[in-house]
Symmetry: C2
Subunit: 268 residues, 2 copies
Amino acid sequence: MQERPAYLLVADELRHRIQRGRYPPGSKLPTFEELQRAYGVSEIVIRNAVALLRHEGLVDTRRGGGTVVRRRPQARRLAMDRYRAEGNLGVGGNPAAGNGPATSFTADHGIGWGEYRLSARYTTMGADAELAALFGVDLGTPLLRRRFVFHAREEPEQISVNFLPLDLVAGTPVADPAREPWPGGTPAQLASLGHPVTRIEESVSARMPTTAEAQTLRMSHGTPVFAILRLMISGDAVLEVCRHIVIPADRVVLDYRIDLAGPPGLSG
Amino acid sequence: MQERPAYLLVADELRHRIQRGRYPPGSKLPTFEELQRAYGVSEIVIRNAVALLRHEGLVDTRRGGGTVVRRRPQARRLAMDRYRAEGNLGVGGNPAAGNGPATSFTADHGIGWGEYRLSARYTTMGADAELAALFGVDLGTPLLRRRFVFHAREEPEQISVNFLPLDLVAGTPVADPAREPWPGGTPAQLASLGHPVTRIEESVSARMPTTAEAQTLRMSHGTPVFAILRLMISGDAVLEVCRHIVIPADRVVLDYRIDLAGPPGLSG
DNA sequence: CAGTGGTCTAGACCACGCT
DNA sequence: GCGTGGTCTAGACCACTGT
């Protein structure tokens, strides 16, 4: 029977106590010095143990502020129906249906239009291999590249980097950053150009954030992100490629519905 | 201008080299001692830097084996259409369509029936609050609990913990662990009981694995997992609740399609 | 200002992979 | 057996939080 490293034993013990409610969310763990004495080990053992819990997303540590059991933020549910609402908004014309302008983002976060802010950066570039394949166009085809950081109540919540064919949007209000935020979002923009979105495809990945992403989104350690590749399709044409929507994974649950009742796929 | 800690500078440098291809996937980084000398810092600085990269999922370290740039496993695409195939399988009766028995899992992994194995553990329990709400039954209603670990070529790939109403399956082959693996999976099982699945709902979360999950799935460090809550619905009745499907997130991409062309939601 | 966690040093021994 | 990364000691100074 080989001995488990001391820091793992300490981590197991602390984890157990957190999960059993001995250290409830929001409470402080004992200081390193106290833990050191309690377990009769050196500081680095405690440090390694706490670092492990931090990378598991169980605790947060702050200089001078102690080690705090993380509160699980209640996750928002991102339902696919929100896109339906956006589409209708765009098609119908004015968003005068209810409480003023809206977007899937504002609906998701339950915030008003005034609490919604985004920072935008627009550039143009030629399609690289991946984008060319997704759009079904030639390499180097001019695209409008838009990078958004969505804020709810001044808190950064989501990064989006997306692309539109330049020949579709050049000279239109859609290509004007000053027009953002746009009620109804991208579906409304595409509808305003005469191309209502008929299908959306989302490819969901999860990974650890890059340091830049963690900084932009003010993320706590030990939290993965969703990285979603999204296509907006009108008829058979891909009109928008969102290369990545990046969302901290502790803040959302993605809801999808799959209907099997209708006629299944053709072949086979 | 405050100074960035040394270990972050070293991590930045190494990360940059990895991303630029200076250290390609599968290659070894210099040893700690070499890095120490190269940067003129103590060992712990190197250690902290490499630990950071490991938690970001960029490298793997092994005692005696050096620090290796992780190869990105090519992610499998889990498309929602696979459920359609399963449903047809069950309804049609025999799975004699093509290459023998199949499941969404075998299709996903491109493996034959012989390379597919699962370990199963069945128990019964009363519905807790969450399950009762999802099934729409009373607290304590008897349920069959099934825990599966799916293996492809003897590699553990996926954990599933799911529940069926006991009054639906008691005494049927579905409640017999020895009948697994079952061609067509759960949709086929439900169809065999006269309840074809008409709708599936999936709620996708991502988080760091528990230590038990990491061990069961033989995961490398710094990799999050998808945790999917899945409902199988026939008509208006929830027939199966999969409380969590756990899949290492570096191995899959989840594809979803959202059709907007049809009649939108009723209200509003 | 006291207390806390963060970074770092110099050094030791251990466990594992490779050859 | 040798070299690698893993664990650990004892101690120092720094940066931030709270009072």
